[in-house]
């Protein structure tokens, strides 16, 4: 089939619906948020339309800088953990029998049906002192008494990685299935060990997929606000938690909007940087 560039206005027809939806559900709300971020906060009330920079000024402090830094760090850590776990897992999955693949993929899709609330409560039970996993270790005689593993950074990381893992596998899986098996066979014939072949052939061949996965999980993890609350200590609360506090509990929409705009800008900048770095490397 030959593809022709659109000639008439009607040829653009199929684009109108998605463009309309994008405008209605993304551009308009986001523009509203930007507008609200410049509004004047009425303490003890709501807000009045205005054009002030107070909300941004309040954000520029060491405290919020640290919270933003932690949020970015957490999102990057989750993205890396997902990719590090996801690639070997998907690699093995793609080479196993069809039946086993189906069972695993269905199980992973099931995780997607769980809400963040359920995942959070399930992990907080698994990590608890009274009913958690450490009781198993006590039963096995490995430790002397059960311990609480939550709240902690590890608990937050575990739950967030768990939540993002299915997406990671679903993005990497098609690329790995399509990967030509003769490539690794050639490497093996030339004397590379399976592990060496994996790192020198499979991983470089997947570079773009890996970058895309990292970015997707990073964005996904950046918006998380329930798991850090349920499983972390206050120092593990992300910027999203503080945005929720301002919007929902303090009815300070302008400040919440300013923080959200800032978060979006910083994450866009980081994604842009990652894409740029990826392209530079490809150009070499």
């Amino acid at each position: 089939m030959r593809r022709e560039p659109p000639q008439r206005l009607a040829d653009y027809g199929p684009l109108f619906f998605p463009a309309g939806m994008l405008t209605l559900f993304f551009v308009v709300p986001f523009a509203t948020m930007i507008a609200v971020s410049f509004f004047q906060r009425q303490q003890g009330g709501f807000y009045t339309p205005d054009f002030v920079f107070d909300n941004y000024a309040r954000f520029l402090s060491l405290f919020f800088g640290k919270v933003l830094g932690f949020s970015l760090f957490l999102a990057i850590a989750v993205a890396i953990a997902c990719v590090v776990l996801g690639i070997p897992f998907t690699y093995l999955l793609a080479r196993s029998k069809r039946r086993i693949q189906v069972i695993w993929l269905v199980a992973l899709l099931c995780i997607l049906s769980l809400s963040e609330v359920m995942i959070g409560f399930a992990w907080s039970t698994l990590f608890s002192r009274t009913a958690g996993l450490t009781n198993l270790l006590v039963w096995l005689g490995l430790v002397s008494q059960p311990q609480a593993l939550t709240p902690s950074f590890g608990a937050v990381m575990t739950a967030m990685t768990y939540q993002a893992f299915p997406y990671t596998v679903l993005v990497i899986y098609p690329a790995l299935v399509r990967l030509d098996p003769t490539l690794t066979e050639a490497a093996r014939t030339l004397g590379a060990s399976p592990i060496k072949a994996f790192f020198t052939v499979v991983v470089p061949a997947l570079r773009n997929t890996i970058l895309a996965t990292l970015i997707m999980v990073f964005i996904f993890a950046l918006g998380s606000y329930l798991l850090p609350q349920l499983l972390g200590r206050p120092q593990h609360w992300t910027l999203s938690v503080l945005i929720t506090d301002q919007a929902v509990y303090q009815s300070n929409m302008p400040f919440a909007a300013a923080m959200a705009v800032f978060l979006v800008l910083v994450s866009l900048a980081l994604v842009g940087l990652a894409l740029y770095a990826g392209r530079q490397k490809e150009a070499k």
Partner: protein, 362 residues
């Protein structure tokens, strides 16, 4: 425009408030199709179930007005939604139960329709401080119920009941406490001021507030959980995972009655008394029915039913109630309560919120 923005927030709320939020979308359920109806907002979950079972059905029987109950999330999320809706001329609920801080914030935008006291003759039964007034004297809301936040503990872990809020600072409580995460719903500044600084008047100045926050910061190593979600703490308290903390006296009493190893103690400095008001959104077109409802709720008999069935403390005078001493003691205490400094959450809310967040998350 602002509605779209609000839609985004309410999605967050749904996630955050969990079940309460989910049922909010599924609601309102129309109890009975009748000519006269009224949408009433009450806190979702246990509270709403209890109101539907014990109060609303009787009200419909007595007045012929059908009640659609709307589950509202706790905190100020509902206030934000009511305000946004009122700007668009809509009222998600005609009458809502609102906290004191939310009442004051709503006053600043004239969100509450002024009540006509002539249509609420039963309001004479109320204790004076449960009538919420605009600065110019118009009545913004009428006390619905009041409740206590007390010092709760797990009886398996702590055989002896605590006696004072100061017990929370003790060294043997390291990593054992569950406290509310927000300055405006935990009222821990007032608790600290009453316990260590001679009274809540110590919070009049910024220096006093900072001093109270410093004292509270000493508590941080003892706090395992700063909770926004009540279910999270309640579960941990029952299992002994987090054996002490601040929680609602009514719900703790019900949990104990169900056989859970928990107790609620009024510390010698007093429990924290908070209350909810009935208030009418200015966008409501059912003010007539709403007044009838509020008047109905101010009857001593209805307040007594609330105390017995829901476990809340009455807002009408004790002498008018037929509650026995035992029934009254179960929902209240003779110890002078700690009354939150609601004024501060209006005049200094951003200062308090900023210092508080820095204190716990810093």
């Amino acid at each position: 425009m602002s509605d779209l923005f609000n839609g985004k927030i309410s999605r967050r709320t749904v996630l955050g408030a969990g079940l309460a939020g989910a049922s909010m979308l599924a609601m309102p359920a129309v109890l009975r199709a009748q000519d006269k109806s009224l949408k009433v907002g009450v806190y979702g979950g246990y509270f709403k179930d209890s109101f539907e079972k014990n109060i609303f059905a009787e009200f419909t029987k007595a007045t012929g007005i059908a009640v659609e109950s709307v589950a509202e999330p706790t905190g100020e999320a509902w206030l934000v939604q009511l305000e946004q809706a009122a700007r668009a001329g809509a009222a998600p609920a005609d009458v809502s139960m609102m906290s004191q801080v939310a009442m004051l914030k709503g006053q600043s935008t004239d969100l509450w329709a002024p009540l006509d006291m002539a249509k609420i003759p039963n309001s004479k039964n109320l204790i004076e401080r449960f009538v919420n007034k605009y600065p110019d004297g118009r009545v913004a809301g009428i006390g619905a119920v009041s409740w206590y936040i007390t010092l709760v503990s797990n009886t398996d872990v702590f055989k002896e009941a605590p006696t004072s809020w100061a017990d929370m600072w003790a060294e043997d409580k390291a990593d054992k406490l569950g406290l509310l995460a927000l300055v405006s719903n935990s009222f821990l500044l007032e608790v600290t001021a009453k316990t260590f600084m001679g009274g809540t008047n110590a919070l009049d100045t910024d220096e006093g507030i900072v001093k109270a926050l410093e004292k509270l910061a000493e508590l941080k190593p003892n706090v395992r959980l700063w909770y926004r979600d009540e279910a999270q703490f309640e579960q941990a308290l029952k299992s002994g995972e987090i054996p002490m903390g601040q929680y609602y006296h009514d719900v703790t009493g019900l949990a104990a009655a169900d056989g859970n190893p928990v107790r609620s103690t009024f510390p010698k400095e007093g429990g924290i008394q908070d209350s909810g008001c009935w208030a009418i959104s200015r966008a409501s077109k059912k003010t007539e029915e709403a007044h009838t409802f509020i008047n109905y709720m101010c009857q001593p008999e209805v307040q007594a039913v609330l105390s017995r069935k829901v476990g809340t403390s009455p807002t009408v005078q004790r002498s008018l109630l037929d509650l026995t001493d035992e029934e009254f003691a179960a929902v209240s205490s003779e110890i002078e309560p700690i009354i939150p400094r609601y004024d501060l959450y209006q005049t200094k809310s951003d200062f308090l919120n900023q210092k508080w967040t820095e204190m716990i998350a810093g």
